[in-house]
Amino acid sequence: MTDKKLPIQQRMLTFLKKRAIGTGRFFKRIWAHPKGKIGLTVVSLLVIVAVFAPWIAPYDPYDVADRTTKGLTPSLQHPLGTTINTGVDIFSMLIYGTRISLIVGVTAGVCIAFVGAILGVMAGYIGGFADNLIMRTVDVLLVIPSLPLVIVLTNVLGRDYWIIIFIFVALGWGGLSRNIRSLVLVIKNSNYVKAAELAGASRWRIMTKHILPGTSHLLIMSTALGSAGIMVAEAGLSFLGLGDPTRISWGRMLAEAQGGGALLFGHWWWIIAPGIGIFLAVFSFMRIGIVMEEVLNPRMKQSTGIHKIFKTLSGDYINEVFDSMEETEQPTTSERSAAKA
């Protein structure tokens, strides 16, 4: 029995199994990294909060009927108080805000990685006209200040959060594809790609087996970092009141806090809470991104902590190492032959 003759379902199954094992191993390595634990924990927490928001949140912030007294200070019923202008439970808003942040951030981050990878590989590997076109577009994208452009486009295209994601993706792939392209150029000229070409590999095989895996560390890292960046941008947009008007997001909470008199009445928690939400999401995604880069990049040696190693080295141990290299007094050859005789 060989793989070739197996039915397609079984081959798919073994493929998926391999992938699942690989993914599992990958997460284990991230977890094993000293910086990975915090990132992974916080991200999983955020995902749980986002998915189970209706069960976690004590009130439904979308429900107009579910409102209480305005401007309450934090208490057991309202851990973060209520808003001054509308009387919505701030804690529940915070919980629901996780959803939009994660959806917009992760979706846009993944799509940007996808688009950036395809265009970057195309520009680098195919070259010629495609390269020129793509790189000139990137140059244009990088000179237009992005937030104003996003604002103009939401004005023209609409403010539904799917449209916002689309705009972020359309404007955000430039930097990544430029980086991917320069990496692809390096890999493309490497001897192992040449060897594969000599072995008769098709362009498709070279792209999928040699070039794309070579950029994977950059891609995965940029997905995480890109998601973090998009979360900040989305929060900024919502803060300006230009996000999806039907959704509660952390940025919009900040805007309401500013407009609703949190500053005047000294309700600092109303500002701090969504800020911490944004911070946690962005921080944990960035952490994971950096850890992924370190885990995946074959060139990245774990040079971190050489100073730490130096600090922890005990003088005794070092002396021992140096002394162990000392020449021991040994009989010279002539003495030995004399002894033998």
Binding site: T2, K4, Y192, A195, A199, G200, H210, G214
Partner: protein, 369 residues
């Protein structure tokens, strides 16, 4: 090169092959500059033999190798592999033909994908050909690992776990998995530790004997070439300076450049007084090289005529060709005035200036003034 006309004994023939690359850049575009990497090279490689290509960086030996295996298309000339013109084949038969040719690179680490394990690296050509089952592939990989002196326990390890010599062994195993006839070795040992050079060279000769391969062996070290090559060419700035049977060339080296290269080789016989030839100047740029001999700027015997009278390759003895006016004499036609005056009069002056150690005082007075 006209003693044999039938191509049957030759696995690869190159006829008047030239490769030019355009120079990139705005000003270069206006002047239409080009790099002449390989210029008018003809050679024939016999089946089962080892053919040496010797030269320094920029001499075009790598471009020549890439042209042989069809990675670079020549600007002019024909490359015939097993009787088929390599660049007139359609895509499919080109790919099929090229399976019979493989290459070993200088830096073994960069020639192995760091993300693949040994099995995936070695079996890749087989996988691409696509007519072997998993088991067959694995068996073949194990067989090859043993052939190149590695253990079958290494099959799951990654390139970075191996030393340079072992990595080169892996690369060799990959290159012979499809049973090619023709193997191009591009400086296969120069990136390795001195003490493993011999291991790799011996492995290559051993494999050649076992599988009846034809080698093209590229090197800058004449001693290596002497010991394993049957025929060879010495290249300089894209042109063949001297070529033919290795024995003839080493017994009777004639080209000034070959002589200079020979003195750079290690000789452990330290008691023998060695005459050293040190060439002046730098290797010139291959952009728009001179019409005449490309070596004239550095040649100790250069004459005025060498600058612009084209140099033909002349057979000075059986299977020994030299392209040098100094050796062959000038042709009878169209010679410029004073062609046989040595260039070195002005060169010698420059040489004196650049070696102030010999005229210490004159320099002293010059700088003080």
């Amino acid at each position: 090169m006209n003693e044999k006309t039938s191509g049957s004994d030759y696995i690869l023939e190159m006829e008047n092959v030239s490769v030019d690359f355009p120079v990139k850049g705005f000003t270069a575009f206006l002047k239409r500059q080009k790099i002449s990497a390989v210029s008018d090279v003809s050679l024939r490689i016999e089946k089962g033999q080892t053919f040496g290509v010797v030269g320094e960086s920029g001499c075009g030996k790598s471009t020549l190798a890439n042209t042989m295996i069809g990675m670079v298309k020549p600007t002019a000339g024909r490359v015939t592999f097993k009787g088929k013109n390599l660049f007139e084949l359609d895509r499919k038969s080109f790919k099929k033909t090229r399976r019979d040719m493989q290459m070993i690179f200088q830096d073994p680490f960069s020639s192995l994908n760091p993300r693949f394990n040994v099995h995936d690296i070695i079996s890749e050509p087989l996988l691409i050909r696509g007519d072997a089952t998993e088991e067959e592939m694995k068996a073949r990989v194990v067989e090859l690992l043993e052939l190149v002196g590695l253990s079958k326990d290494d099959i799951d390890r990654h390139p970075s776990d191996f030393s340079g010599g072992q990595q080169q062994r892996i690369a060799i195993a990959r290159s012979i998995i499809l049973n090619p006839d023709f193997l191009v070795c591009d400086e296969p040992v120069s990136a390795l530790d001195v003490s493993v050079h011999a291991q790799i060279l011996n492995l290559l000769t051993e494999i050649q004997e076992k599988l009846g391969l034809t080698y093209v062996f590229i090197s800058h070290n004449l001693a290596v070439v002497k010991n394993i090559c049957d025929r060879m060419v010495v290249m300089y700035l894209g042109k063949v300076m001297e070529g033919g049977s290795a024995k003839a060339i080493f017994d009777n080296p004639r080209h000034p450049y070959t002589l200079a290269l020979l003195t750079a080789v290690l000789d452990t016989d330290v008691d023998k007084e060695k005459e050293e030839i040190i060439l002046e100047g730098d290797i010139p740029s291959p952009i728009d090289p001179p019409q005449g001999c490309r070596f004239w700027q550095r040649c100790p015997h250069a004459m005025e005529g060498c600058k612009n009278v084209p140099v033909p390759e002349v057979e000075i003895e059986r299977d020994h060709y030299v392209a040098c006016h100094h050796v062959n004499g000038f042709p009878d036609t169209d010679l410029p005035e004073g062609y046989d005056r040595p260039v070195k009069t002005e060169e010698a002056e420059r040489k004196d200036k650049s070696h102030p150690l010999k005229t210490e005082e004159s320099v002293e007075s010059k700088t003080d003034a």
